[in-house]
């Protein structure tokens, strides 16, 4: 059993912090303030003076928002769907806590580099786990999770098959249920679990060697077994990739 972040490369973002340009790095599922050796101590020191440490603020915002399924609604659906956030030009029609949480989410999505992609990978991994183990917020989150899966399957299939208007019917199944992809008279019917996002899509494996990957598995994070179908959806082929 590998970690959910296996196969997802590290990512860094520069942060203007205390007059210097610092680096915040995402690696192995964690956000690390590279230039701060004792983050907790620095926060304690800065708090009485009312100062903020930009790198640590970013970490704090990250930890607050990383399990918000709304991240998946807003984040990119892939290379063909780039975000273009004019953060300073954005206005909010309401105040209070909702504005605060939304500003935090948008700030992370506007952070640049690959951090927004790592954020949604983290969110997807958290909800993959919660779907398996159960969680109090699942009832309200599930529609957003289903939509997150649907949107990414939609974009992937339409682009891959070169059919921009292709109707896609998706059934979000449990992780142990049969995965299906069927060409019908109207379009394509797909049955995939939410974990496809973490296992396949977030790792950039959705289309590999021109084939759609419907499942990816690794035991050591280096050797990958991909179950793939070709564009005619008629041949299931297993690929093994060894990255060592």
């Amino acid at each position: 059993m590998s970690h959910w972040w296996a196969g997802i490369p590290a990512a860094e973002v520069p942060v203007l912090c205390g007059g210097d340009t610092h680096t915040v790095r995402w690696e192995a599922g964690e956000l690390i303030p590279v230039d701060h050796g004792d983050p907790e101590g620095e926060v304690t020191l800065a708090a009485p003076a009312g100062e903020t440490v930009a790198c640590l603020e970013l970490l704090c915002t990250w930890s607050r928002r990383r399990d918000d399924p709304h991240v998946l609604t807003l984040a990119s659906r892939g290379p063909i769907d780039p975000l273009n956030v004019d953060f300073d030009g954005l206005r909010f029609d309401y105040g209070g806590p909702r504005r605060q949480t939304e500003e935090q989410t948008l700030r992370l999505l506007a952070a640049g580099g690959r951090l927004p992609d790592r954020l949604q990978a983290t969110t997807a991994a958290i909800w993959t786990r919660r779907l398996r183990t159960g969680h109090a917020a699942l009832g309200t989150a599930r529609p957003q999770l289903e939509a997150a899966l649907y949107g990414r399957v939609l974009g992937t299939l339409r682009t891959w098959l070169g059919e921009p208007q292709l109707p896609i019917e998706l059934t979000m199944i449990g992780p142990e249920e049969q995965r299906r992809i069927v060409r019908t008279a109207d379009g394509v019917d797909v049955s995939l679990p939410f974990s496809w996002l973490s296992d396949v899509w977030m790792r950039g494996l959705a289309v590999t060697f021109g084939r759609l990957c419907i499942a990816a598995d690794t035991t050591d994070g280096s050797s990958w077994t991909l179950d793939t179908v070709g564009p005619d959806l008629a041949d299931l082929t297993q690929l093994t990739i060894d990255t060592r």
Binding site: D81, D88, L90, D93, L154, T171, Q178
Partner: protein
């Protein structure tokens, strides 16, 4: 037909693949093993079948691939037939709307800003049948409005609070309207003083400034006072024939028309109901009683199911912003998906027959697409029968008719102006309906009918807010039948409609 390697394992050149999350992945020493899984012929009985087997099938033109995943391994399964059974899944309106939002994100051509989200019609339909609450439906609309905004690179609002439900508003003031219809010189401008509506605590004086040349409207708009006011900075002094001198200020009403700008002056204070004239900055204008004859009333709307009423109403109400006829299909599809409407039902056939013949932009359409309208249900058949005609009479009729309150909404018709292609009604409505309505309220439709059984549809084309009411102009299509002797203006609200029934002038009686 067992395992059949397509490519033998071996060393390959390093491969640089673009990672979905953006970073590049260098695959050093890649070994590829392409393998085809063994084929099997047995169908899988249902989707939960646990004993997987490899294979593929092609039945009834459909190829099915299924993959069973266990905790320990991944087993690919070909289903020999599509006999996986029909899975009955409870309809989840939020999921439905969010999936629609995803499709809109994937298709930028369909994205619309702010409250005019393309999700709105489907959301209103699902709210209307109780499949989802208005607040949650709005949250979905708002989520995808934000998602759209942060892809645009444009500044502006990323969120919008839900439109408010109609508020209770004070009743519209009864009024006596006096025709003036006289041109006066204001500075270098000729201004047509149109009429005066006298209420208990003041009045509204309406005027029209004709623009010198086509195209000068833009300049006029940039330089004029609110409402196209031609009097420099200070409102004029006004005195009536009884010596009353009301306070005068610029009104919020008025609009730009073809070759003219309309405006209003708000008068506060006593104006004699029997006044014979006004003096405007010393220029006298006479007040006449030559207004149209009218009656007002309330009628119950035809008894329909809520779903039918919802769909017919939305077909009658064009998009406020663009004037484009509502596309019913997203609404119909939502209702069918929710099980509130049966695909193939007679009402759906009627709706689609009418919708197919409705002009996308009623003011710019000539002739009915799709031929005869005889098979269409009323009032749609008679509405579309005269589409594209340009034989309307040309006159203006001053009214000042205030209808009774109807389902909490009240309207006043100040005047009707008929031209070759249609007619306009200058109106007031309380509460203000000219903004975006709440998801759980039926939009108000503005129908009209004449004594020859023709029907007409009105679309608000501009206006402004006055306290908790609004005033503006309704443009009706098609052209008024020149033979008509009576016209009923109908404001359709929830279960009733308010009626202002107007006796139409003979052509020789026309004013202005």
């Amino acid at each position: 037909m067992g395992m059949s390697p397509k490519r033998s394992p071996g060393r390959a050149a390093p491969i640089r693949e673009s990672n979905r999350c953006g970073s590049s992945v260098t695959v050093v020493r890649t070994r590829l093993r392409w393998s085809r899984l063994p084929l099997g012929g047995q169908p899988v009985a249902d989707s939960s079948a646990g004993s997987g087997f490899g294979g593929r099938g092609r039945v009834a033109g459909e190829t099915v691939i299924a993959l069973t995943r266990s905790r320990k391994s991944v087993r690919a399964v070909w289903c020999g037939s599509v006999t996986l059974g029909t899975e009955l899944v409870a309809f989840d309106a939020e999921v439905y709307l969010r999936r629609l939002g995803e499709r809109l994100l994937d298709d930028p051509d369909q994205q619309q800003p702010r409250h005019w989200s393309a999700l709105r019609g489907a959301a209103a339909a699902l709210v209307g049948v109780g499949a989802i609450g208005a607040d949650l439906a709005w949250r979905v609309i708002d989520d995808y409005a934000t998602a759209t905004r942060i892809r645009s690179g444009k500044p502006g609002f990323v969120h919008f609070d839900a439109p408010l439900r109609r508020r209770e508003a004070a009743s519209l003031m009864p009024r006596q309207t006096r025709v003036i219809d006289q041109e006066i010189l204001v500075g270098e401008d000729q201004v047509l003083v149109r009429d005066l509506a006298i209420t208990a605590d003041g009045g509204t004086l309406r005027y029209r400034r004709r623009l010198d040349a086509p195209g000068s409207g833009q300049v006029a708009r940039l330089s004029r006072r609110p409402g196209g006011f031609p009097w420099n900075v200070t409102p004029p002094d006004i005195i009536d024939s009884d010596g009353n001198r009301p306070a005068v200020r610029f009104g919020s009403g008025g609009r730009d028309g073809e070759g003219h700008v309309d405006g209003e002056l708000e008068l506060s204070g006593t104006i004699a109901p029997e006044a014979a004239w006004l003096e405007i900055d010393g220029t006298r204008v006479d007040l006449y009683r030559r207004t149209g004859r009218w009656e007002v009333g309330i009628e119950a709307l035809e008894d329909r199911s809520p779903v039918e009423r919802f769909l017919w109403r939305h077909l009658a109400v064009a998009d406020l912003r663009s004037g484009v006829t509502t596309d019913l299909e997203p609404l119909i599809q939502a209702l069918v998906a929710a099980g509130a409407l049966e695909e193939g039902s007679p009402v759906l056939q009627d709706l689609r027959s009418v919708a197919a013949r409705m002009p996308r932009r009623p003011f710019h359409q000539r002739g009915v697409p799709g031929g005869s309208t005889r098979s269409l249900v009323e009032p749609w058949g008679s509405l579309l029968r005269r589409l594209g005609r340009d034989d309307g009479p040309e006159w203006t009729l001053v009214l000042g008719a205030v209808a009774p309150s109807c389902d909490g909404v009240q309207f006043a018709a100040n005047s009707i102006t008929s031209d070759l292609a249609g007619f306009e009604v200058e109106f007031e409505v309380a509460p203000n309906l000219l903004g975006v309505g709440a998801l759980d309220e039926l939009p108000v439709a503005w129908w009209a009918r004449d004594d020859l059984e023709n029907h007409y549809l009105g679309i608000p084309t501009g206006g402004g807010v006055r306290g908790d009411s609004a005033q503006g102009t309704l443009r009706y299509w098609p052209a008024l039948d020149p033979r008509a002797k009576r016209l009923d203006l109908l404001m359709c609200v929830e279960s009733h409609q308010a009626v202002v029934s107007v006796s139409l002038p003979e052509s020789s009686e026309t004013s202005r």
